[in-house]
């Protein structure tokens, strides 16, 4: 289980880019960590690495629930979905989002707060745990579950 440390937001984004190359081509990645742990920041790097999206254009999906990022002009590249279940409280609310449909796609699906609904997440997945340390440092640990 590789564990990384980043000292700044820019380093977290750079780590995301690196992970974009190392993560499986498709599948579900849970981003796990408290408010302010750096989940959306890491997602910025992953979207940059996978879909060539400017990190400044990757914002929080809390209100909108699902954001989709694709390489512009390339309809054959697989998209990145960035999902945030923060404001949903009950499994039946999540169930109606149609996540299974996204899980079937040839896409990388990043989910924030998905660990609160373990029964709705696929067994085969990657978990990335983020923790804020002192002075803006972050500890980022990656586990693959099969």
């Amino acid at each position: 289980m590789p564990t990384y440390r980043t000292a700044t937001e820019a380093e977290t984004i750079a780590l995301g880019e690196q992970l974009a190359r190392e993560l499986p081509p498709r599948g579900v990645v849970l981003l796990i960590g408290n408010l302010g742990a750096g989940k959306t920041t890491l997602a910025k790097g992953i979207a940059k690495g996978r879909a060539a999206i400017d990190p400044d254009d990757v914002s929080s999906p809390t209100f909108t629930l699902i954001h989709e990022y694709s390489r512009t002009g390339d309809r054959f590249s697989s998209p990145v979905y960035h999902i945030d279940l923060y404001r949903l409280d009950e499994p039946r609310q999540v169930a109606t989002l149609g996540l299974e449909e996204l899980f079937e796609k040839d896409a990388l699906v990043l989910i924030e707060w998905g660990e609160r609904f373990p029964q709705l997440m696929p067994a085969e997945r990657t978990e990335i745990r983020l923790r804020a340390l002192e002075n803006d440092e972050r500890e980022i640990a990656i586990t693959t579950l099969i």
């Binding site: 408290n34 408010l35 302010g36 959306t40 920041t41 990190p55 400044d56 990757v58 914002s59 929080s60 809390t62 209100f63 909108t64 629930l65 699902i66 954001h67 989709e68 923060y86 404001r87 949903l88 409280d89 009950e90 039946r92 609310q93 109606t96 989002l97 804020a132």
Partner: protein, 359 residues
Amino acid sequence: MRILGIESSCDETAASVVEDGERVLSSIVASQMTTHGKYGGVVPELASREHLRAIVPVVREALAQSATRLEDLSAIAVTVGPGLVGSLLVGLTYAKSLSFARSIPLIAINHIEGHIHAVVLEAKRAGTPVQYPALALVVSGGHTHLFEVREGFHYRLLGKTRDDAAGEAFDKVAKLLGYPYPGGPVIDRLAPHGDPSAVRFTFAKMKGNALDFSFSGLKTAVLRWVEAHGMADEIAARRALQRAFPEAAIEQWLAASPPRTLDLLASFQHAVIHELLTRAAACAQEIDAQTLIVSGGVACNSGLRAAAQAARLPYPVLFPTPGLSTDNAAMIAAAAFPKLYRRDFAELDLTAQANLTLA
């Protein structure tokens, strides 16, 4: 000329009839706030189901209140995005069906452009039309954008949030402190009881586009402050209050808020307002704006309105009346008039666009 506007992009099912781009003959909003309040946010499944239940009576009421028959309509305007697809589809499908059945032209409207037109309409109505170029700050739960608006409604995006929207920061701070959803109104009403200079929150200078916003750091700073000040008991007490009294009055929230917490809320709100106004003013200066438009749900914030007046900016700062600040359909109908005049109609294969951008 009359346009029927239909809006269902998020929380509200709304319909409105607007005449000549300036007279709101009716504006009906079926708020789902009570349904969503229980769940701490907009819930997609509930949202589309509630929209389905509300759409027919809401449109009927908008037509009846304005004494408008379908044959009086020059067009039907509908929100196509951005928003939740399931919610958008309800309004869109209804509008398309009505357009097809009665051969009334259909006009597709961007929700964010609607927010800008809420102010354009009211300014026109008041006999003091918006002067261009204008700067529009659209600020809500899902949006924090700065647009240049040129004559003829040409838009240029000048700045946006890179992480959390301003309204989202209000909601998240309220939730972490045990206050109800939506967070904006309750924080706005409690903030005047605290000292806005008690806690100093700072914003990092933006790299890249200096006009972009970032509210994630502020949210994290509030969280760290709460963790460092042993507030778990009072937060638990407020969550219990929420469960016991889902409709608790502001006096109850005030009684459940120690002075230190009120200071925190006041300081947080002050920081958000200061950030919004500072960047908007810098932006307005850059484009030599003749008017500053502030619209979207956060435009209801009384602290923001007061600070904008107190800033004595060298151009008028226009807010919509509260009814037109939050989501409504009058703004959608208003935004459709320029398109009606240039016969910019939509085809019936129009689809909902969850990620639609304005510029």
